[in-house]
């Protein structure tokens, strides 16, 4: 590919040509210098105050592993092993709060350390040095990108997992009496969550044989046309499964918004607060809650 590229005035700017014979020599040299170079690398990491959440021993053992993987990747040109290791490492260090800039910083440091050592080794012969660097740079860049991307991907995966966990946690359907479940909604509702809420609710209606559902939206700060329509759909779907729905906890702002938006809520039964909603639900189900004349609850100091 590089042969087709028109040559630039300065040879230093020319895209690096692949130099197949040189890489094995480089790799052998880097293997030979393993002890010194990885110590130098670890020193630079500590010096630049990267990875402060890890102890020096930890840093050194990870440095050794990454170094070996790095040199292997240089030798074989295949980044798969390194990629797997980088993912695994990322998984471990993300939980400890290592930041993206630290990981990128470390990889760039290793590039730097190795490039310097190659420079020292071959500085006597500028032409050879250029060929060495031409072989080293593209491979090193590719490795650096691989490690950086692995880290970021791993991080995104963790974030996705956490989002899923939050979604899961934030939509409990609770049974409070026989045939009566409540669905407290807290936080913002978007289309995706609204859909999920409905699914949860319908499955719970089936599992708990619910005939009345109280949906409490006290914890919902604001509502728009889409969300309001989703609520209407949820209520309708619940009805199809044989359960009446009661909406409680509409704040005055939300009530006004709904009226202003002109959402058709004629078929929604609404009650001011959760207590009222539960009382209405109990009435619908034929429960009568009576107060005992001799209360057994006494305050203890």
């Amino acid at each position: 590919m590089s042969h087709d590229t028109p040559s630039l005035p300065t040879s230093a700017l020319r895209p690096p040509a692949a130099d197949a014979e040189l890489l094995p020599k480089l790799v052998a040299y880097l293997r030979q210098m393993r002890t010194d170079l990885r110590e130098e690398w670890a020193r630079r990491i500590t010096g630049e105050q990267l990875l402060r959440v890890m102890t020096e021993e930890e840093i050194f053992s990870e440095v050794t592993a990454v170094y070996d993987n790095y040199v292997d990747a240089l030798e074989t040109g295949s980044v798969e092993t390194l990629q797997a290791y980088a993912r695994d490492l990322s998984e471990r260090i993300i939980r400890r709060g290592v930041e993206t800039h630290e990981v990128l910083g470390i990889v760039v440091l290793l590039r730097d350390v190795l490039a310097r050592s190659l420079f020292l080794r071959y500085q006597e012969d500028p032409e050879l040095l250029e060929r060495v660097l031409n072989s080293y740079e593209p491979a090193a860049n590719r490795i650096a990108v691989t490690v950086g991307v692995s880290f970021v991907e791993e991080r995104e995966r963790v974030i996705r997992e956490q989002q899923a966990a939050i979604r899961e946690l934030s939509t409990p359907v609770l049974q409070v009496r026989d045939q009566l479940v409540i669905l407290p909604i807290i936080g913002a509702i978007d289309s995706r969550r609204a859909r999920q809420l409905t699914e949860h609710l319908l499955n719970a209606i089936q599992a708990n044989r619910a005939r009345v559902v109280v949906i409490d939206i006290t914890g919902v700060a604001s509502i728009d046309m889409t969300v309001a329509n989703h609520l209407v759909q949820t209520v309708t779907a619940a009805r199809l499964m044989g359960a009446s729905a009661i909406i409680t906890g509409l704040s005055s702002e939300i009530a006004q918004t709904l009226v202003d938006l002109g959402v058709d809520l004629t078929m929604m039964q609404t009650v001011g607060d959760l207590q009222g909603g539960l009382e209405e639900a109990e009435r619908l189900l034929g429960y009568k809650v009576m107060r005992d004349d001799a209360p057994s609850v006494t305050a203890t100091a």
Partner: protein
């Protein structure tokens, strides 16, 4: 295949086991209308637990069954709509207006008997 209609006391129970063609849905409507008069039934339970799709034609026909039965003096309750089916129906805004709905056969019979308070769906 026509849908078997069972008699249980004052009530008729039609349990739909497989997806019905439009023709079969109409057949069910006619059968039920005829049986209501013959058996002097006071209520009908249509069980759709086994259906994973209720399209607009079926929804309209079910509504028609309820309307016809009502004219002949029987209430109709549709039971067993699955969560997925319910979601799809509201998304396509299918209307089951004159139909009452209940969770399953047991609840449906309870609705017809008028026991257990006022709760329950009315298919709107």
């Amino acid at each position: 295949m026509s849908v078997p209609i069972l008699k249980h006391g004052d009530y008729l129970i039609a349990s739909i086991q497989t997806a019905l063609s439009d023709q079969e849905v109409l057949g069910l409507r006619d059968d039920l209308a005829e049986r209501v008069g013959r058996t002097r039934a006071r209520g009908i339970v249509v069980d759709v637990t086994a259906l994973d799709v209720i399209d607009s034609f079926a929804a309209r026909a079910l509504g028609a069954i309820a309307a016809t039965a009502k004219l002949r003096g029987a209430k109709t309750v549709l039971v067993g709509i699955q969560p997925d089916v319910a979601m799809a129906m509201v998304q396509f805004q299918l209307d089951l207006a004159p139909l009452k709905t209940a969770l399953d056969l047991e609840e449906g019979l309870a609705v017809l008997q008028g026991s257990g308070g006022e709760a329950g769906g009315d298919g709107r």
